[in-house]
């Protein structure tokens, strides 16, 4: 898996560096140009390739997401998107320092070269701004998805027009060919992601079997494949659940699969959905038995599969219990008696999800359960407050450094728990966290 990760990263580097390297090799200029202009060109080429590659990073290719985890790929997409924006701004900024008039920043004026460049830049600025401040702008996740795709497509088209129209390095045929190859490749990726994939998913429908209250403002949805065998997954992985008339016109959300990875007789899967937004609070409760849905997955590297550790420590906050439930059910079904310490942190008793079921796991698993409430009822005698170093120390086994750790919950909780674990001497490589705050 590590080798695969290195190979994918090497491929990524090659993709983002190639246009600049091709330009250098075929350098069509007879005389040297000012360093500022050349540096600007270098940033322009890297920004072009980085932005083009952004389409592939989030196109749900299982082969490339396996070594890293989809959440890590999405985080990389976010960070590198910011860097791409920085380079895209540096490109005209350096040219302006070298004499390009400020009017070139105006997307409504100038020739094709200047105008396409300015349109690409401002579309990219808007794309990043609406992502960073989505909640402040009160954009729903679905509206943001549509806007993000539209702005990404506009940025991509304007970038290609700009790269071809500039009569600089792109006057050399190899550079023009490289630009066109990038445009074709990433258009193909987007078409596959937006059209081919939904079409194929449409041929593999699922239907809701049950939709019950799992307490803590959470619904437990059981879905089963209709006319196909369903999907195989590893405990802890997630899938995109799509609801709506067709996969092309659907609302889709990433959800941890909460059921056992041992295949059910009818191929069914379970998802637990906490009411956190419009879709989860209003649409999910209305999904009656027989409702057609679609499942795209499975994804993610947050899994206990193939881990040979003598035991696991699972730390769940709120709905973060879902992937832990999948791992525990899988261990139960496979007769895996390795030691597990499960920490569950929620605000109060009313928000505990799968509380009774997790209690019952003690009968079939080698499980120590630690539940902590931030605001428990007066008669609660267990742990109180957030998970701290002291609380971990009280409950971790003697050989805790040999265990593998899974952490899933609100970002602030995960940050605090990871710091506490590192402080206790747990190796960073032994800590897996799943971060679902995609935007």
């Amino acid at each position: 898996m590590v080798i695969r990760g290195v190979l994918w990263f090497a491929l990524y580097l090659a993709v983002v560096m190639a246009p600049g390297v091709v330009a250098l090799v075929v350098d069509p200029f007879d005389t040297p140009r000012p360093a500022l202009v050349e540096m600007s060109v270098a940033f322009g080429f890297v920004a072009f390739a980085v932005i083009a590659a952004q389409f592939a990073l989030v196109s749900r290719f299982q082969a490339s997401s396996r070594p890293f985890g989809t959440d890590a790929l999405v985080q990389f997409h976010q960070y590198i998107g910011g860097i791409g924006l920085g380079l895209a701004i540096a490109h005209p900024l350096l040219l302006t320092a070298a004499g390009l008039p400020w009017s070139a920043w105006n997307p409504l004026a100038g020739g094709l070269t200047v105008q396409s460049g300015a349109i690409a830049l401002w579309a990219l600025v808007l794309l990043v701004a609406t992502t960073v401040w989505r909640r402040k702008l009160q954009l729903s996740y679905e509206a943001w998805q549509r806007l993000h795709l539209a702005l990404a497509a506009l940025t991509g088209l304007a970038l290609v027009a700009h790269a071809l129209a500039v009569n600089g390095y792109s006057r050399a045929a190899p550079v023009r060919v490289a630009v066109l190859i990038y445009a074709a490749a990433f258009s193909a990726v987007t078409l596959h992601y937006r059209l081919v994939r939904p079409f194929r998913l449409g041929l593999r429908p699922w239907e809701v079997v049950t939709n019950v209250d799992a307490s803590g403002s959470t619904r437990l949805l059981r879905v089963r494949p209709v006319g196909h065998p369903g999907l195989r997954f590893e405990p802890g992985q997630f899938a995109w659940l799509m609801t709506g008339p067709t996969p092309l016109r659907s609302q889709q959300h990433p959800l941890s699969i909460a059921s056992s990875a041992q295949p059910a007789a009818d191929g069914s899967l379970e998802f637990s959905v906490k009411a956190l937004g419009d879709w989860s609070a209003r649409v999910v409760p209305t999904l009656a038995a027989g409702t057609r849905v679609w499942v795209d997955g499975a994804f993610g590297a947050f899994t206990s599969e193939r881990k040979a550790n003598p035991g696991f420590v699972m730390i769940a906050g709120g709905i973060g219990i879902a992937p832990m439930r999948s791992m525990l059910l899988t261990m139960r079904d496979r007769g895996d008696r390795r030691h597990v310490v499960l920490f569950v942190a929620v605000h109060d008793e009313s928000r505990l999800i799968f509380g009774r079921e997790v209690e019952q796991f003690r009968a079939s698993l080698n499980l120590d359960l630690v539940v902590t409430f931030e605001a428990p009822s007066p008669d609660w005698s267990g742990e109180r407050g957030q998970i701290t170093t002291e609380m971990l120390r009280r409950h971790l086994p003697t050989r805790f450094r040999q265990y593998h750790y899974f952490v899933c919950g609100p970002p602030a909780m995960m940050d605090a728990v990871e710091s506490a674990l590192l402080g206790l001497g747990v190796p960073a490589a032994a800590i897996d966290s799943e971060r679902f705050n995609l935007v």
Binding site: M17, G20, L24, D27, F29, D30, T31, P32, R33, P34, A35, L36, V37, E38, M39, V41, A42, F43, V46, V50, F68, G69, D71, A72, Q75, F76, Y79, I80, I83, G86, L87, A90, L95, A98, G99, L100, P101, S103, A104, G110, G111, T113, V114, A165, V166, N167, G168, A301, E418, A428, A429, I431, D432, S433, R435
Partner: protein
């Protein structure tokens, strides 16, 4: 802890891209050593063609003509000549022809 690694990797890449900008400028700024000798041009392209090749992709003709001023406006033309020398990929002879074109009728 993958997210920490991701952040570090992205930061490293950002620094690498900045360095690459410098390396690119340095490599592109070197005089070509292996390039085959340029044939002596039998005819020098006129200012219109040179403007199209070297300037038009980023600069509007009217805007440049305004910057150049009229034929006798030597101060503005000296500024523009300096700008052309410091900016773009044309030779000195080509810059002179571009300037003639911009100040011409």
């Amino acid at each position: 802890m993958r997210h920490v690694g991701v952040r570090r990797l992205a930061t490293l890449l950002g620094v690498a891209f900045l360095l690459w900008g410098g390396v690119f400028a340095w490599l592109a700024g070197r005089e070509p050593v292996e390039r085959s000798p340029q044939p002596t041009p039998v005819s020098v392209p006129d200012g219109t063609a040179l403007f199209e090749r070297h300037c038009a992709s980023c600069h509007d003709l009217d805007e440049m003509r305004t910057a150049a001023g009229s034929k006798g406006d030597t101060a503005r033309q000296a500024d523009l000549a300096r700008f052309l020398e410091d900016h773009g990929g044309a030779s000195s002879e080509e810059n002179r022809q571009i300037l003639d074109f911009l100040t011409g009728p």
